[in-house]
Structure formats: C-alpha cells, structure tokens
C-alpha cells in the first residue's frame, strides 16, 4: 500500500496527486486565506473569516462494530481543525450560535430531510473560575503542596470546570421536532488540559457519554483527530518515505458522536436484518443565524439559519469542488449537486496529471465518480452528494459504503480518481497515530495539553 513500493514514476504521480490533496486540505483546514488589509480610516471588516467551530473536518456513518451493537448506526462529525492540545487558556469549544446537524435520507430520493438530529450548545461560566474571576477556563489540583481548595476536575460538575457547555438534541422527522431525553442533562467533555487539572481524563470523558433511552447514545467533546495523511512528505518535493508520518498526529478535534438504532433511521423502521429499505444517505452540516441589514436584532436564537458548511464524502470539498464555488456549494442542499457535475466529470486533479504527465487516468467524463459519490446506483436519476450506507451490509464495511474512522480514504480516493493504474497506490499512512477504539465513541482520547507531541511513534 505504501507509495515507496511503487515504480518511481508512479510514485511521483501519486505524490503530485497528494500535493494537490495536501494543498486543498491545508486550505480547507486552515481557511482559504487571510482577511483583507486595514488602512487608514474607513472601516474594513475581515474579508475572510476562518470559522473553526463551524468547520467540519470529517463525517462518519457506519454500522456499529462494537460487540452486541450491530443493530446500531453511528453518526460522527468532527469540527475545529488542528486543535493544538496546549491551546489554553480558552482551549476548544462548540459554538453556542452554531446549529450542528446530521441529516438522513431514507427513501433514496436524495433529499436528506427524512430524519435529522440537531445539537445546540450553551455556555456557562461557573465554579471557582467564576467566583474568583480567574482568567482560565479550567483549574484544578492546586496548589498540590498545601492540600487543594480546588480539587482536580474528575467529573462534569467539578468546581474547577469553569467553562461548561450543556447541549440539547432535537430529532427532526419529516419536519416534526422532538427534543430527545430532555430530562438528561448533557454536558460536553472539556479539552484535555493536562494531568494535574484532569488526572483521569478517560474517566472524565466517560461521564460525558449519555444513554438517551431507546438505545441511543451521545458524546460531545474533545478527541484525537482520527484523520491520517502524510502531508509533510508530499510537500517536501515528493519526498515520500516509509514509514510515513501522520501529519495530524498530536492534534485534536471536537467530536459529536451519536449512536442510534438503525430502525430509527430506516424508512420502514426495521433493523439491519429485516429492513427492506436498507439504504441511507447522510451528511453533516453547521449553520449560523441569518441576519439582514433591515431585519430584526439577529440574536443567536434567530429562527432562520444559513448552512455554513456541509460534509458527506471525504475529500469532495478538497479535491472536487473548485475554490470559486465553495461558498455556494456549502450553502446549497446536497440534492442540488447536479449544478456541480462538471467538477465530478472532469476532476481537476486527474486532468492536470494527464496533461502534465500523460498519466493513464480514466477518460472523461468520469461517470464512475458520479456513480460512486452522487447516486444510489448507476440507474439512479438524481444527483445528491451524500455518504451512503447499506445498513444490511455486515458491520465493518468501508467507504464508500458508509465510512468508519479507520478507513484509509486518502488511498481509496487516489485509487478511485487515478483509476486502474493507481491500484495499490497511497500515501504510506494507513492508520491513525492513536489506536482507534472499537467502542463508542470510536475515536481515541485526545492528546493532553501538557504532554503534547506532534510526531509519529
């Protein structure tokens, strides 16, 4: 699977493909550029805003691989790219003005409005941080020598948990909104500050996993970024290596993980074994309140929201959609994807490679990409960019049949975009730097702020 095992020419092509992917990924994860300049007296707002709390890095949907849970489907979205574990004093939080939503299509019409789950967060400044007016979000285990007045943070009601985020989950079925388990107080797990403040982070995170009844589970909080790719080697003039290095090693993300019985998602309300309608199509989105100049106050409880970002299949935003169309693409419903078909039929990357190198990539138009990413099957007349999962497939299926955190989507994407000549090609990083657990929420514990490292073992 590693690129260094390929022929030299092919390795070069793969690496070039990676440079493109890497650049796109960097742009996407770091934001598409700096705000505009400020000169003398006229007022210039930032022209480009990075929006990390609304920036979805990955979306996963898969049949649970945990023992005894095979009738469940997991929906996971990661936000806030490249969280530096030591990034205090504020660390990383969900945004109370953002609506975080999973959208599901269960009747194969490409419109993911059959079932949706929306999460909203609120902030609370509390405990010792509030009463002492400390300029820190979290404090605990101080001072160690004299017996502590503020104990370490071991629970989600510990006094040192100064900034606390509670959240609600609303299930939206055919437009009807139901608050899920309203009596269960749901608290997001804070960033992993370090061993003095949070001496048993895994136990603390465990408190943030909630059973919501009806077989549903939720977790919101920090995790290790499960994406893996060797960007550095690709950037260093194609200096690929074995073993390769996961550039996202040592970085965290904020995760929302939701596990629900498959029967809650399927059209006929049957589980994986019985359902006659096993296909689900889904995406994750973030939205912000809509404001207009003449409109009302525009408080965060505004009823109108604008989709800021959507994510279904990995790398579509990075590798397929052109920069100039990204804002519009993100705003639109995935069922409007036919407006962007040209990007799928003539992928820029494959085109550039074939022009420059005469590389044997498949002929355009690339209907294979459309079929794989936009349709439930070759005969499906509708184009909708959704992550599709056949819930009747055995647990463990890989992207593009759903997507699990362990799927090597970079390699798969190169092989699919590159065609037969790229069989077995890849970037040389095939697993995450931390072992991905096979239990909910399926992502590894985050790196702690004090002992952070950014290197592969």
């Amino acid at each position: 699977m590693t690129a260094v095992l390929l022929g030299r020419r092919k390795a070069t092509i793969v690496a070039l493909a990676l440079v493109g992917a890497a650049l796109a990924l960097l742009v996407l994860r770091f934001g598409s550029g700096p705000p505009a300049a400020q000169a003398a007296s006229h007022r210039e707002a930032p022209l480009i805003a990075n929006d990390p709390p609304a920036d979805i890095t990955d979306f996963y949907m898969f049949r649970s691989t945990q023992a005894g849970q095979a009738n469940k489907v997991d929906l996971i979205m990661d936000v806030i790219p490249f969280e530096e574990p030591s990034g205090g004093p504020n660390y990383y939080n969900f945004d109370p003005s953002v609506a975080y939503t999973f959208h599901v299509d269960n009747n194969k019409n490409g419109i993911a409005r059959d079932v949706a789950f929306e999460l909203r967060f609120t902030n609370e400044i509390r405990g010792a941080v509030n009463s002492l007016g400390l300029p820190l979000s979290y404090v605990g285990g101080v001072p160690p020598a004299t017996g502590s007045v503020i104990p370490p943070i071991t629970a989600l009601n510990s006094p040192g948990l100064g900034l606390r985020q509670k959240y609600t989950i609303t299930m939206i079925t055919d437009g009807h909104r139901t608050t899920i388990s309203p009596m269960t107080e749901k608290i997001a797990v804070p960033s992993n500050v370090g061993p003095r403040t949070m001496p048993n982070y895994d136990a603390l995170a465990g408190h943030g996993m909630y059973n919501l009844g009806n077989g549903m589970k939720v977790f919101a909080g920090q995790r290790d970024d499960p994406f893996f790719i060797d960007l550095g080697a690709a950037f260093d003039t194609l200096n690929l290596r074995s073993p390769a290095t996961d550039m996202l090693s040592g970085f965290n993300v904020n995760t929302i993980a939701l596990e629900v019985p498959a029967s809650l998602l399927t059209r006929d309300h049957h589980g994986p074994a019985e359902t006659k309608q096993p296909w689900l199509g889904a995406y994750a989105s973030t939205s912000r309140p809509e404001v207009t100049v003449r409109g009302e106050h525009g408080q965060s409880n505004s009823s109108h929201y604008v989709q800021v970002q959507r994510l279904a299949n990995p790398l579509v935003n990075e590798l397929i959609i052109g920069t100039k169309d990204k804002d519009r693409w993100n705003t639109l419903d995935p069922s409007k994807e036919s407006r962007f078909l040209d990007y799928y039929e003539n992928p820029r990357l494959a085109l550039a490679l074939s022009l420059v190198f005469g590389a044997p990539v498949p002929a355009t138009p690339r209907h294979d990409l459309e079929n794989a990413l936009l349709k439930y099957g070759p005969t499906d007349p509708r184009y909708s960019e959704l992550l599709r999962l056949n819930v009747s497939s055995p647990p463990g299926a890989s992207w593009p049949n759903g997507r699990k955190p362990s799927d090597d989507v970079t390699d798969t994407a190169i092989q699919v975009v590159g065609g037969p000549a790229f069989a077995g090609a890849g970037d040389g990083v095939s697993t995450n730097d931390k072992v991905l657990p096979n239990v909910f929420p399926y992502l590894a514990s985050p790196w702690d702020g004090r002992n952070r490292v950014h290197q592969n073992p």
Binding site: Q38, A40, A45, L47, G87, V142
Partner: protein
C-alpha cells in the same frame, strides 16, 4: 486562605505569561517572535509564516498563479497587522503576477479589489469586485468588497443588499460585522450591537479578527456613551491579541473621558509606537494639546504630514482624512474646502458630505454647508460628531435654538464624542 493566596499567585504567574510573552513591539517584530508558548496566539506569526511558506512554494514553482494570489492576500494581512503601507505595492505586484499567469483568476481580481479598498480607491474597488463576481459568481467575500466600495461611494441601498447577500451566502465574522455597520449607519445602535455580538462569536480562534471585532463592538457602545461596556470590549481585545494597537488607541479615549489625560497619553503612545497610523498620531496630538503640552502636540501634528506622504507614496488616497484633520486643527483652512470637495468627489459618502460641510462652515460658508450637513445625516445615523457639526452650522446661520438642540443631542448621545470638540460643545452651551 493560604491556598487561595497560592492560587492567586498561580493566576498572577499565568497572567504574567499572558502579558509578558509578547512585548509591545511584537506586532512589528512578528517574524522572530517566539511561537508555541501555548498560552498566546498573536496570529501575526501565523501570517508571517504563511508569507514565508508561500514565498518558498513560489520559488519552487514560479508559475503558480494561485500561490501568487494567496501571497498577495497575505501581504494585505501583513499591512493590516503592521500598519506598514509598503506591503500594498508588494501585494499589488503579487496579485498582478497571478493575473498574468492566470488572467481569469477570481481570487487575484478580488484581492486587487480589497487592495483598492485599502488604498481608498473605491471606484476601482467596485469595478474589480464586479469583475471578480463575474469570474466567481458565488464568493461571499466578493460581496464584501463590492458592498464596502458602494458604501464609500454613498450608494447605500445597493451596499446593504450586497451585505445581505454576503450574510446569506456565508454567515461569518466579516458578514455580521458589515450588517452591524449598516445598522449603525441607519441609526440603530442596539441592532448593530446584536449583529456585532454574532460577529464576535464567529471570530473564534482568529486573534486579529477577534480583537478587531471586540474593538468594533466597544466603539458601538462608545458611540452611545456607554463607556464601561466599551472599555470592557477594548480590554477583551487586548487579551485576545496582545499589544493590539487599536485597543490601546480606544482605551486612550476611555482614559481621556475619565479625565486621566496622562494615562491616555501613555496608552496612545503605545498605539503609535506599534503602528504610527494617522488617526493614532492625530489623537495623540489632541491629547497632548488637552494636557496643555503644545510643543508635543505640534510635534505629532507635524508627523501627520510625513505619514500622509508615506501613505500617498504607497498608493493610498488620503484626501478626506487630510481635509478633516486640517479643518479640525486650523491648518491651511483656506485650501481645505478645495481639498474636501476633491475628497468628496472621490468618496461621495455621508463622511464625504460631512467633511465638506465642516470645511465650508469653518470658512464661514455656512449656507452651502447646511445642505451637505443634511446629506451627511440623511440615513438617520446617530453619529455625535456629525450631529455636532450640524449644530455648529445651524448656529453659524443664526439658528441658535436649533443649533443648541443639535449640540445637546450630540452630547447626550456621547458626552465624550471628541477630545477636541466635546469640551467645546459643552462650553458653547453654558
């Protein structure tokens, strides 16, 4: 109690780290500023690193149009962070190079548009924004460029529509802030504050943008005389972005309002030391003058000419700012009408109207001034300085009670609206 004291010491230590890790010169010296203390992100080293990375990338592949476009934008961010206008010609060259390599590059055209805005060439900015829109029809930031240009050209209805489109296309710090500004212009400060609060929460993790937004929110509070909330926002800006000169400048106003002139002078000097922007230098001169330090005030006012020449040399149009400064400080008063007229032709906004009205009034031509002053207030903007100008013009025309009503309105809105003119207005009403 011992433990609480120890905790307080810990916190003080933390605060020391927070404050101490970047000196006041950090903005200018960003490329060598240490990174990775973990406590502070200034953001400027990020931009410097971005510039270095792009330069390296372009050395390796000199035909990379996108790279040059990004470099051009990164240079503009450096200008924003350092206040050094020599980044503008560099940005110009990079963007034009990108366009030579890829004539239809929407990012480069949009970048030239935002550069034109920075240089106060609003008609150019509008044309470039529209061209960029044709090349990339759905880019939210292009609507920002177009709306900003339209605003300075006095075409408010079109500008507001552009901002609405931007906010609908991609709600963001920049979009919310523009909607806020539009609402402020329309005389709705509370709604402007609500939108700016949305801007603030959308600026997470971007120190410069967060600090900028805090300062804007503070200025909204300031504009309606709420000094305490304003000061809190300015301090929040400083903790988001250490040494942020716009926050020092704004805090200097707060101290002056509280009658602490020497503290105000110290703060303004920190702003000027970081970035000698004309508005900082001018305010420093005004503060020295208020202190009675005529020699220092004159030194600052003389510096204004040097800075202005520097800006002009880097392609920035400064006529409107120059006219207002001259009129306010009794410099070349006779020529100021011509200058203001020229400035207004380039920038027929309510600011252009207001400065021309004020220049005419200070030359005793209050009949002509009145029409422009009315135009300056035509949106219903609650801007104490413009309202004060109107009051002075009415008084000059012999409309004493109308004039006094405007002066009272200005002072009621914001008793500290100008270091120069608020005390004067108070004296006039006595």
């Amino acid at each position: 109690m011992v433990t609480v004291a120890a905790l307080a010491a810990t916190v003080t230590l933390f605060s020391g780290v927070l404050r101490g890790s970047h000196s006041s010169g950090a903005l200018a010296a960003a490329p060598t500023a240490p990174t990775g203390t973990g406590f502070v992100q200034t953001g400027t080293e990020d931009t410097a690193a971005l510039v270095a990375g792009l330069q390296q990338r372009l050395e390796a592949s000199p035909k990379d149009a996108e790279g040059y476009a990004e470099l051009g934008l990164a240079y503009q961010q450096r200008a924003r962070e350092t206040g050094d206008p020599s980044w503008y010609p560099r940005s110009d060259r990079a963007l034009r190079r990108a366009l030579r390599l890829a004539p239809g590059n929407a990012v480069a055209v949009g970048g030239l548009g935002s550069l034109a805005l920075s240089r106060h060439r609003f008609r150019d900015a509008l044309a470039l924004g529209r061209r960029s829109l044709r090349l990339g029809p759905a880019n939210a930031r292009t609507y920002g460029v177009i709306g900003d240009a339209l605003l300075e050209l006095g075409r408010y209805g079109e500008a507001f529509r552009a901002f609405d489109t931007m906010a609908r296309l991609k709600p963001s710090d920049g979009a919310y802030a523009r909607v806020s500004y539009a609402r402020e212009l329309l005389g709705r400060p509370d709604d402007a504050i609500a939108a700016m609060r949305l801007a603030l929460v959308s600026a997470t993790d971007q120190p410069e943008a967060t600090a900028w937004t805090h300062v804007q929110l503070g200025k909204l509070y300031w504009s309606i005389g709420r000094v305490g909330p304003a000061a809190r926002q300015y301090r929040a800006a400083l903790s988001a972005f250490h040494g942020y000169p716009y926050a020092f400048d704004a805090l200097a106003q707060v101290q002056a309002a509280r009658g602490r002139l020497s503290a105000a002078v110290a703060l303004e000097n920190r702003a000027v030391d970081t970035i000698p922007l004309p508005q900082f230098v001018s305010q420093l001169g005004d503060l020295y003058r208020a202190e009675g330090n005529r020699a220092q005030a004159r030194r600052q006012y003389e510096l204004m000419d040097v800075i202005r020449r520097l800006l002009v040399a880097n392609g920035v149009k400064t006529d409107l700012e120059t006219a207002l400064f001259d009129v306010d400080h009794g410099i070349r008063t006779g020529e100021s009408v011509t200058l203001a007229r020229k400035a207004r032709a380039l920038r027929p906004s309510i600011d252009g109207d207001d400065v021309l009205a004020w220049a005419l009034a200070r030359n005793g031509r209050c009949d002509e001034a009145l029409g422009y002053s009315k135009r300056a207030l035509r949106l219903g903007t609650r801007d104490a300085l413009k309202i004060f100008h109107r009051g002075m013009i009415e008084r000059c025309l012999g409309h004493r009670s109308a004039g006094d009503a405007f002066l009272r309105d200005a002072l009621a809105l914001n008793p500290h609206f100008s270091i120069l003119w608020a005390p004067f207005a108070k004296k006039e009403l006595r």
